[in-house]
Amino acid sequence: MKKLLLVCAAGMSTSLLVNKMKDAAKEKGLELEIFALPVSECESVASEVDAVLLGPQVRYQKPQVDAIIEGRVPVEVIDMRDYGTMNGKAVLEKALNLIG
């Protein structure tokens, strides 16, 4: 099963989005594991995820996440607008494109 990791400062607001994305995935009948963590804990699961999505408020920490992931899987910043409207469907679509 593919694993999607969302990170933000404390893993709080991303966990809201995670729930919306899970709903969107269920609607599409997709088997996906989606979860949220504080960006500081990204390292602990780095080896098992298929993509990392950053909340726009921690987009400046992308270099660190890139350094942890070392190009193994895609690392992207979530669109501000999608993030703010908690548009789980749109974020899921973009994530699916990333992991192909």
Partner: protein, 447 residues
């Protein structure tokens, strides 16, 4: 769009690189994450002190409401059961911090994190004031294991983290065991020389410092660095400036509190802990030694999250006719009650919004000043108890003061003030509907 585009250029050109630097700088990350990891322990200590006086003391606010002392006359005796909790939490914060900073450094430099953290702790006590022997038993002063030793802990953690990680990378210093030796054993041999070198360097450094400054390194750092920085932090001007900087970063979509966390913690950690220890010793937050700490921001200027956006949401429900505002409002109110407001900030959006950024920065600053005036005039006690940042709005002020009802009311006053300031701006943004980037292609709503 001209103004906004210019604004955005400023953000991307100037602020984002600074934030990126601050947050990708490994020393700053190590300090910030160390405080984040130690926070649950100080919080637990704080909550137990609070419960100790709220429930077990005869004049505690819960005890009074429930007449606990009429029902259980000896309740106050139980206080001594819980008072040692501080000895295992805030009173040894420096030990946690030195371990965590060294560990975090090792993580970012890809060295053995656990042994690096332990080496940091070991080093902290190599340079610690020596044992005193009294009546044949030896004693170590507790003065520097708590808040007062914080800066030494930070410095030792950073230096040991650097040294350990670099030295353990050197092939010449590694003792490699044959493959038949268990990995746990060879792991400790691999870093043996780096640890010996660090130990020796700090032992000699300690001897030199003591020769020139007999009171020792801890006393020196405290006098030269920690005390001035603490005094710099614990006044209303610094508080307002930090508050404005933190919210200004959010205006550009950058997590403000997170970005300035390392600086903020270094400035306020000792004052916070001294306030808590005072409260634990006196059973009250009245006359706590540091009336001005960052806790004022959390208690009076953070409802709904940075920018006090709970006031903005209320203003939206009161006057906004824009459908997308009300949609975002509905989506945001539940997380907003727990001070999570990314939906408002990015969804409304507040980010780069020429109308809303002014109140977003102004409202918290005004409320910080209200909180400050209330504390400094003796209307309410200091915010001495740490309360988790996800505690709903005015409850932070209530619990943070140890259950002061005036603080609770003042919390609602601050919320009203923020709503009133936001109102005209919400009306203005209604009139200017269509500005901002909430148009064209993204018109369909999923909220």
């Amino acid at each position: 769009m001209g103004f906004m585009a210019a604004f955005e250029r400023v953000a991307e050109k100037a602020l984002v690189p600074i934030a990126t630097k601050l947050n990708s700088q490994r020393h700053i990350i190590a300090i910030r994450d160390a405080f984040i990891l130690a926070f649950p322990i100080t919080l637990a200590g704080s909550l137990i002190v609070l419960l100790n006086f709220a429930i077990l003391a005869p004049d505690g606010f819960i005890a009074k409401i429930l007449f606990l002392h009429k029902l259980f006359p000896n309740l106050a005796d139980l206080q001594s059961v819980f008072s040692p909790v501080l000895n295992g939490s805030t009173n040894i914060l420096s030990m946690f911090i030195v371990f965590l900073v060294a560990r975090n450094m090792a993580i970012s430099l890809k060295a053995d994190e656990l042994l690096c953290g332990l080496t940091g702790l070991s080093t902290f006590f190599i340079i610690y004031p020596p044992y005193k022997v009294v009546d044949g038993a030896s004693f170590l002063t507790t003065q520097w294991v708590g808040a007062q030793g914080l800066f030494v802990a930070l410095i030792v953690g950073l230096v040991v983290g650097e040294l350990f990680s670099r030295l353990s990378r050197s092939k010449k210093l590694q003792i490699n065991m044959p493959a038949s030796v268990p990995p746990a054993v060879s792991r400790s041999f691999k870093v043996l020389f780096p640890i010996i070198i660090i130990t020796v360097v700090f032992a000699i450094g300690n001897a030199i410092i003591n020769a020139f400054y007999p009171k020792g390194l801890h006393e020196f750092i405290y006098a030269v660095l920690q005390t001035p920085l603490k005094h710099l932090g614990t006044n209303i001007f610094s508080l307002v400036v930090l508050c404005i900087v933190s919210n200004l970063l959010w205006v550009f979509g950058i997590h403000g509190p997170n970005t300035i966390a390392a600086i903020r913690e270094a400035m306020f950690a000792e004052a916070n802990l001294e306030n808590l220890n005072y409260a634990a010793a006196h059973g009250t937050a009245w006359d706590a030694p540091y009336p001005v700490t960052w806790a004022i921001n959390d208690a009076f200027a953070n409802y709904g999250g940075s920018g006090m956006t709970l006031g903005l949401l209320i203003a939206i429900f009161m006057v906004s006719r824009r459908k997308e505002y009300r949609d975002i409002g509905k989506l945001s109110i539940a997380p907003g009650l727990f001070n999570i407001n990314e939906p408002v900030i990015f969804g409304l959006p507040v980010v780069l919004n020429p109308i809303l950024i002014l109140p977003f920065i102004l409202v918290p600053a005004v409320n910080v000043i209200i909180g400050y005036v209330a504390i400094s005039t003796g209307l309410i006690p200091a915010i001495a108890y740490a309360v988790p940042w996800t505690t709903p709005g005015p409850l932070i002020a209530f619990l943070g003061t140890g259950g002061n009802w005036v603080a609770l009311i003042l919390g609602f006053v601050c919320l009203a003030v923020s709503t009133i300031i936001y109102l005209p701006f919400v009306i203005a943004s209604n009139k200017a509907a269509g500005s901002g980037y909430s148009n064209s292609s993204e018109s369909e709503k999923t909220a």
